[in-house]
Symmetry: C2
Subunit: 233 residues, 2 copies
């Protein structure tokens, strides 16, 4: 067996992956079923199952009961993007983290926002604007709306001490959410806070989280120009 590493199921995974890479098993082709592979590798079926499930999760195999397991025709590679607390992301890069609350208001949401969050347009939300910095240089401008009805005690929190980002992670666990990445030209406001020019291309991450059917918060994080979100495949 080739890439023999750690545990048995990983060795099997490596071997199957090798056969796919070398085109011994070609895209679209059906591979032996779990019982056969278990016999070949001299292990229990559950061990083979674990290896194949892992490859299916990675998008390299398609599995269906009765139909068997086939090499994916179009291996949809999946990149895992970690979404850590901003403070930890900055500190992991070796920089000193800082953050400042720029604005804090209780106000009614815009109609679009009310609809996106499925909240009553007349119900005021907490609107925060804050800047995160790395080694005193602007890093992220955070524009956040919070539904106070879904987060007990939120109106009494001192966001000068703790960032909303971090407080919410600890105190308002969510059950589901959406996440979007895009690019946008810096507005005059963003340019001022991020110390760049209006019109510069900013990397933007938008997130909305829910607990059950109740919206918690929606946030737009605008990164300083030049930011790159890197990951392995």
């Amino acid at each position: 067996m080739s890439g023999t590493q750690g545990q048995r199921w990983q060795a099997i995974r490596s071997e199957v992956e090798r056969r796919i890479q070398t085109r011994e098993w070609r895209p679209g082709e059906r591979i032996p079923d779990e019982v056969e592979l278990a016999a070949e590798f001299g292990c229990a079926r559950a061990t083979v199952n674990r290896a194949l499930q892992d490859l299916a999760d990675a998008g390299l195999l398609n599995r269906r009961r009765k139909a068997g397991t086939r090499v994916a025709l179009h291996p949809v590679r999946k990149a895992m993007v970690d979404i850590p607390v901003v403070r930890l992301e900055v500190e992991a890069s070796g920089a000193r983290y800082g953050h400042a609350l720029l604005s804090r208001k209780v106000r009614a949401p815009t109609p679009e926002l009310a609809q996106a969050l499925s909240v009553d347009p007349d119900q005021p939300l907490l609107h925060l604007v804050a800047i995160h910095s790395a080694d005193n240089a602007p890093f992220i401008l955070e524009d956040r709306w919070i539904n106070p009805a879904a987060v007990a005690g939120i109106v009494d929190v001192d966001f000068d001490t703790v960032s909303a980002n971090e407080w919410l992670v600890l105190n308002a666990p969510f059950t589901s959410g959406t996440f979007a990445l895009t690019a946008a030209m810096a507005s005059a406001t963003e340019a001022a806070h991020l110390d760049c020019n209006a019109g510069d291309a900013l990397f933007v991450a938008e997130r909305t989280t829910w607990i059950g059917a109740r919206p918690i918060t929606t946030v737009r994080m605008s990164y300083r120009p030049g930011y790159r979100l890197e990951t392995g495949i």
Copy 2:
């Protein structure tokens, strides 16, 4: 038990997740070990193990032998970003896919590129520029360098018929790669091909793939203005 769905281990996962969400088990707190939970839920330890491993993968639990399992202090949420073949991404949105090869040259790489790919600066690479379209509107401008030494038969492929994107996925499986997302202002060239203005903010994905220690290809995909990469959390 609350979120009883499908299989037993998923029900256990839901129940544990609920206890975390309701702060019955607080961040940093140690939870009962697998044997205890198996007894409580009346199942085998392996079933509990599967549920807890899933939650650990999701970033909600931290597990260490002997130290036990604890609720994560900073739940690092992970977003899965699918990287499908462009054609499938377009077709999945209901649009008609098109693509055109704009340029194809064999040339020496720039010094930076040669270094990034760890190839000999004097060794010529295949340089392709292509446009992907959705319903005849420009969608992605692809700028790609391919190492012909790593991909047999590449110089004979007719990329007018098949996009390099798709051909490589089928014919040059990779073992590792890097993936980066960023934002950039459209150059004059990009603006011309993407039918936008120079300076517009473009969402850019860069990918470099390797087979073992040999570089295969590096590509920069510039999306039309306004593109959003969406995913669940």
